[in-house]
């Protein structure tokens, strides 16, 4: 490792990849921003709870899905415990979407993309869309009548877009792997990135209020 000119964080510039990653990570996400003890005074509404409720539901979805994965995709047809775990997976998914949609609409009406937060909005919306795909593949791998019917109905739309030639909803093996590996990884990565961006950029201030906490005079005049 070669030492060089100190960078803005005070750490020596280095050709060591590990040191550079650490330096850049600490610069982008300082611990006090990642895990703060205080929030702006305006973070005082029930609407703020729906983000963490969405993440909590996602954790329950992952845990119940992992439980099913231990025994396999058809376990729940023959086991009462398995059926309960499947119900947990279903209802936590329903809660996940319920919370996420309220969170999304809340952020829309707060215009939460203001102040260099557009990427936070974009990652959230893309996570929502990826979650729809993940849930859809879950319905395809239930190995029951619902899966048969939904696959048969869905194939026409997907085929019409040219996607079905590569992504075959009638192939339960392909859909199972997408459901339990690829899509959860995508959603999980997007959720992590989304939360990191929220922490790095901070919670968006109220409309008409500047970052120093005071009203924008023009906004006040228009109230």
């Amino acid at each position: 490792m070669s030492a060089g000119t100190p960078d803005v964080t005070g750490a020596p510039a280095s050709s060591n990849w590990t040191a550079r990653l650490r330096t850049r990570s600490l610069r982008a996400f300082p611990p006090e921003d990642l895990m703060p003890e205080r929030q702006p005074a305006y973070v005082a509404s029930w609407i703020y709870v729906f983000g963490v409720l969405t993440i909590s539901a996602f954790v329950v979805v992952l845990a119940s899905g992992a439980w099913i994965a231990v025994y396999g995709p058809t376990w729940w047809h023959t086991s009462s415990v398995g059926h309960f775990v499947n119900s947990l997976h279903l209802w936590s998914t329903e809660l996940f979407f319920f919370f996420m949609v309220i969170h999304l609409w809340g952020k829309f009406f707060m215009a939460a993309w203001r102040g260099r937060r557009a990427l936070t909005w974009i990652t959230g919306v893309v996570a929502f869309l990826a979650s729809i795909g993940t849930a859809f593949t879950g319905y395809l791998v239930q190995t029951n009548f619902d899966a048969q019917w939904i696959a048969g109905e869905a194939k026409d739309g997907i085929n019409s877009a040219g996607v079905g030639a590569f992504w075959n909803v009638l192939d339960v093996g392909q859909m199972l792997l997408w459901h339990v590996t690829l899509l959860p990884l995508v959603v999980g990565a997007l959720v992590v990135l989304h939360v990191l961006l929220v922490r790095a950029r901070g919670v968006v201030p109220p409309i008409g209020v500047d970052e120093d906490g005071t009203f924008d005079p023009e906004f006040k005049a228009g109230v």
Binding site: L95, W113, V125, N159, S160, P205, P206, I207
Partner: protein, 326 residues
Amino acid sequence: MATTETRPQPATGGKPGKWRGPTREYDLLKEFVIALVVVALLAAALSALFSSPDEPGITLQSWSKAAPGDFVATAAGELAGTTTSASYGPPYNSASEGMSMGPIKLQKWAGVRIPVDSANDFVVGPLSRLTNDPQATAALSQWRAATPEQQQAWASAYADALEAADNDPAKVAPGDYGPVPAMTTALLGMANSGILDSDLVDTGSGFFHTDYTRPLLFLADGGYLEETAGNHHLQGEQWGMMNETGNYPGQAWLWLYTFWYQIPPFTGAWGDNADVIIWTLMILLSLLLVFLPFIPGLRSIPRWVPLYRVIWRDYYRNAPHRGSSP
């Protein structure tokens, strides 16, 4: 979770765009742990109260026993090339171009990547593996020796006769149907015994199988699957696949996608290409949502709908003012 103590931060020292106004204590980790426990308990309570639907799948065996007439008519239709799968187009065959939107033909351009020959894959192929049925073997030999035109004439005539007889093979009027009745009867026997279920899944990949394209396409060609779905309020005009069997929320988040299938012109003038048009529409709407922060007009809606004044009402009431007095 939080106290209302405020502590103004110094105006200097923060990064550009960082909040420098009053703050309050907030325990993010405690909030997450409480939320996780509440959501886990709520999901468990909903599971205990409402469970989850699990209607057993339809097998080719159960179809052939519950609706033998429909099964035989479907098999005859496969031989005649008149079923949905036989005339589907890509990605299964080249019988049509599939859906398009003007000159844009994504379905055709994607090509035939999952080849399905309905007559051979669903009827002729399985019968050829039935080695202990002399009648079926003889019928198959007669079928193979005939010209495609003759095969088409036999199968179409039998399919029409079945339709006229309410799909009851016993009531079909006498006619020149060649080996088709014997073939469909033999296939019905295979389905009744259960061997057709495993036969159709066999795509030549060996012992293990996960691809149900062929049996699902064959099942969907018949009327029994759709009738059963209708009984479970699952058909397209019943908000289709966003529903589940039983009284469950289903994929409620697909409401907008499913909505278009309920209204004209998607149910009428655009019906032949409704799928691709609705997919394009949903992709455009999704892109609008993704890039909403950059779209003039749409991004201003929150300022016009003053819900934000409700959300931040406490802060607006107490916030300090800059410049002139409030």
